[in-house]
Symmetry: C2
């Protein structure tokens, strides 16, 4: 660039940065809340990015070549929305609806806005999700787009950020650029590391990243940093920008007590005067170069595995088999696992389709985040680990629902029936956790053929979809051609004189079937329902059972009593007229230890023997 070009370039960056600052203040003051000072610190960084490095087609947010910009520090939403306005994507009128009821411009960004990939606001999630998008970009799309992630300094305390840093380095994600806004001040005072940019530098370098320390308000330094960061060199880059919180407004700069506070109208006026207001300008953003998605093999019909019933099969094994079959049929299916793929059986897929399998090591937060990132790039991700260890990623699962992500999670080794390993490995709260996720779907198959069909359905189902699988081998109950669907159930035993209904799913269904036989010998006829679709529950079948079988239920589950299958069954009967049924919940009521699966199910009170006792007691009147 000539000096004149440079000057005009700097002028443009300045103009945009000051406009972003003014707008960040305007919208938050109008809302009466928000984080203007956290926006001001990053305005220069975002101005240079937007004008000179971002490639994004705001008219076509689905353009596969678009860069991805994630505000991991979601509270800087005034800055992000100011950028959308400056890009001409939203009008000033809409811009000023920030944080108002019904506005798309929520307090923290969500994909209600078409230019936002994922919801942020729970700190430490943007970078791990960026890793997922970068994996898709580098290894699946093979397109040159960049993933730019703006991080706050406080959020680097989250371990999930280090999971992302570790994985980005391991996978050589040089399409990923983190921009760390080191403004020194957190919500309640100085951050742990303050302005110690050298500490950040040393840490990320030790993890194999490029680190570029700059003054986050020097356009020269910002520009060179982005120029370097956009050149692929086999490693991800973190731009570590020393910034000033509230930059540009004298009474805000580097002052404590201003986090998450809007300025009063008078303060805002004064601030805007200081910022030398420019008019509401539109700044063109470079569109991405035309590029083509790689041709993909055509989708084929899924050739699911079939189990003839001669041998018992663990549903976790059927999951692996079915996932592999899905992989053969649909090139968009990808799999992730938390270094337990030989236990979850995701390894069946990994061996067959190593290019679409991404080992996430023992980092469940990163694994779920990567699945969300894959969903952003329209893949069909299945992520697996032990059911118990999904609790590690609950915040990510919760946020995935706000992100409107389509992810499939599969938790193996559920319940006390895993046996000797003991309670740390037993998923006993997974159903409660997954049921309470907004818009979620939860299935829990009891048999290999059922598992296979449900895996296929999961691929075509939106939202957060969870499958619980069983460690132990269990008998095959159903023929390969029997049909199962999300929202369905199977009535396994039914007669005209059923006295009571037992509802079970997964491993306890096998106990219920044993109980059925024992009760038949006692001349007690029960209905047995396989409620493999825990959410949504098959209401019709349960309502019919209530009417036809004495309005009495025993529900049995390998889970704590709260929030699982029992509550899902009962929930069908709330919100309705008429007398509600009697329901006895059999669930795990004491802390298990080690033992055989049979010993532990007996101890927990969820074995066939306990079902028989509960049925008898309920029929007698407890």
């Amino acid at each position: 660039m000539t000096i004149t070009e440079t000057n005009s370039q700097v002028q443009q960056w300045t103009n945009l940065a000051q406009q972003l600052r003014v707008d960040s203040i305007r919208c938050s003051t109008n809302a009466g809340s928000g984080h203007p000072t956290s926006s001001l610190s990053a305005a220069d960084l975002m101005s240079v990015l937007m004008i000179s490095y971002l490639h994004y087609d705001f008219d076509n947010p689905k353009n596969p070549n678009n860069d991805h910009l994630i505000f991991s520090k979601g509270h800087a939403s005034p800055l992000l929305y100011s950028m959308f306005k400056a890009a001409g994507a939203i009008t000033d009128d809409e811009f000023m609806t920030y944080r108002k009821f019904g506005s798309r411009l929520e307090g923290h960004p969500t994909p209600v806005l078409p230019w936002v990939d994922v919801a942020t606001g729970s700190l430490g999630q943007g970078l791990p999700i960026g890793v997922g998008i970068a994996l898709a970009g580098k290894y699946l799309d093979k397109l040159p787009y960049h993933i730019w992630v703006l991080l706050g300094d406080s959020e680097t305390a989250e371990g999930s950020v280090w999971e992302a840093i570790d994985h980005a380095s391991h996978y050589k994600l040089d399409n990923l650029v983190g921009i760390l806004d080191v403004n020194r001040l957190g919500q309640r005072g100085e951050t742990e590391l303050g302005w110690n940019t050298a500490a950040y530098e040393a840490r990320v370098k030790a993890f194999g990243w490029n680190a570029i320390v700059i003054d986050g308000h020097s356009y020269d330094e910002i520009n060179s940093a982005f120029a370097r960061a956009s050149q692929p060199n086999g490693s991800p880059t973190l731009i570590i920008a020393k910034t000033i919180k509230g930059k540009g407004v004298s009474f805000l700069e580097n002052k404590e007590g201003w986090h998450g506070k809007a300025l009063s109208p008078e303060q805002a006026e004064q601030a805007i005067q200081e910022l030398k207001p420019v008019r509401s300008m539109i700044f063109p953003v470079q569109k991405p170069a035309p590029a083509q998605l790689l041709p993909k093999p055509a989708k084929k019909a899924v050739d699911l595995p079939r189990y003839d019933g001669k041998e018992a099969v663990a549903t976790r094994k059927a999951y692996g088999d079915a996932l592999k079959a899905l992989g053969a049929a649909n090139p968009d299916v990808v799999a992730l696992d938390g270094e337990v793929s030989n236990s979850t059986y995701a390894e069946e897929f990994a061996k067959a389709y190593p290019d679409r399998f991404f080992e996430q090591y023992i980092a469940e937060q990163q694994m779920v985040a990567a699945a969300v990132g894959m969903s952003v790039r329209n893949r069909i991700p299945f992520a697996s680990t032990f059911a118990a260890f999904f609790t590690r990623a609950f915040d990510f699962i919760r946020m995935a629902a706000i992100s409107r992500a389509n992810i499939r999670l599969v938790g193996s080794h559920a319940g006390v029936s895993i046996g000797e390993d003991g309670p740390s490995q037993m998923g006993l709260e997974d159903l409660a956790m997954m049921r309470t996720v907004f818009g979620s779907t939860v299935v829990y198959p009891s048999d290999a053929n059922q598992t296979a069909q449900l895996v296929e359905q999961m691929a075509n189902h939106g939202g957060v979809v969870y499958m619980r699988t069983t460690r132990e081998k269990t008998p095959v109950l159903y023929a390969p051609d029997e049909q199962f669907q999300i929202g369905g159930s199977k009535v396994i035993h039914q007669s005209n004189n059923d006295q009571l209904t037992v509802v079970a799913a997964g491993v306890t269904l096998h106990e219920a079937l044993k109980a059925y036989d024992q009760l038949r010998d006692q001349h007690i006829t029960i209905r047995v329902i396989d409620a493999y679709s825990v959410k949504p529950m098959d209401e019709e079948t349960l309502l019919a059972a209530a009417q036809e079988a004495g309005n009495k239920f025993v529900v049995v589950e390998d889970h704590w009593p709260e929030g699982g299958l029992g509550d899902a069954v009962i929930d069908v009967f709330t919100q309705r007229d008429g007398p509600l049924p009697q329901v006895v919940k059999l669930a795990v009521q004491s802390m298990p230890g080690s033992g055989t699966p049979a010993e532990l199910m007996e101890e927990a009170g969820i074995s066939a023997h306990h079902i028989v006792e509960a049925v008898n007691a309920l029929l007698r009147g407890i």
Copy 2:
């Protein structure tokens, strides 16, 4: 040491190490499951530690001067239990009950054994908990004990390990020594970093730790490393030991496919022969030097804050006030917060008792782990953040229950009633999450005086105790002297002709009271119950209400429909004779955005207006 002494020392280390190896194989082969090879890799490390550096009084596990030994790689339990046997703490007979039903020697260690501080087995938790104990040791107990944490290499992928590494450095925890068993092989093949000990070294050094890289089978190197690590120098130390999985047995050494597999009896025999068996020896462990706990100020009666009702008060503020009062009365009360103490109001305590407040920055897993560590050292920890962000630590909370830890968690900013910040900040699944934790207690106060009393009760209550607080200021409903207890409830409105009962808690109670007034104007009398103790629920009061008020309930909560207050109320009526009452649950049914608290509660269907409608509909028959 003289050469002879050295030789005899090495012989002793060798003897113990080989005995530990033999026993690790014996017990796992007898159990038919377990992780012998992961035990063998660390046997030399643990032998030197036990003979020469550990100070522990096995006869008195409550001795405050005892060191703390945490197996973060809990699957190496055969090694740990072999050490207990070698120390004479358990007999060989008990030792051989490993993984059997009813045995204290579970698949992964739990505090069912008196020498085990905390349950491990969910990887990446031992070091964060060690940080908590080390904080107590250095800053509260001020005793010279060490915390030794044995880590596996795979688990360093967990972000929580880096939260711990960061915090240990920040707090200069030179009483904490990590021992990283880099045996290269994870569950399903090579770990991410394999034997790249230099990578581990660079990473932890960048975080401010001392790092000592050694051959984990060279007694010389192990001994010098422990010698250096036990000298306080202002920083925590990680001993990075390159080891061989299966060390000592030719057909196991560095072989894939042996993770988590017991040897057959024949294989075990062969292995034991190779290991040149020593007899079952007892190896004396050094007892800690006598030391005294610091004298503590005597406990005093708690002088709780009193709210006269002239002004509305947020329950989160009352939490802060009460916690401060508790701090004045009881020197064992400590507080932790995730860098939001000015929002949770933990800052009231922090300002008054800075020596007992531990800032955990935005690292919720570390925060809960530190609370568990404080519980190990008999403190009364209160840990606070936004309700939503406790989801980040669910795995730690779940494990805290298995650890039989006594911790108090306080989540502010619950529900849509937080307003403009949007869904990422709204705790809408916290009640479901906390209710499904084994042995947990959940309270959700509606008023400042109630909050204060419940905070006091939490301090005296065991297990995982959770309080949900509200962001907004709400009217004070109760007099300062009114009594509330865990397990109780308050009937606010009651008459002889109640047609229906509305149950609410926290912010929705205020809506229920408005609804009561509106319904009274319509000549509809309802009972209103403040169910501030969500778990355990006051069964008696609810049963009476069912009987006296039409067997109909409307339950209203600022939470997703699954697993919250509504389900807690319904649960009272399961397991009982007679049909269930009719229950209508009002809960948040759609994804909220931003808006005022009132707009969002109206939109969610949990405002007074919706309660009135639901009551009318239920009385009409829906």
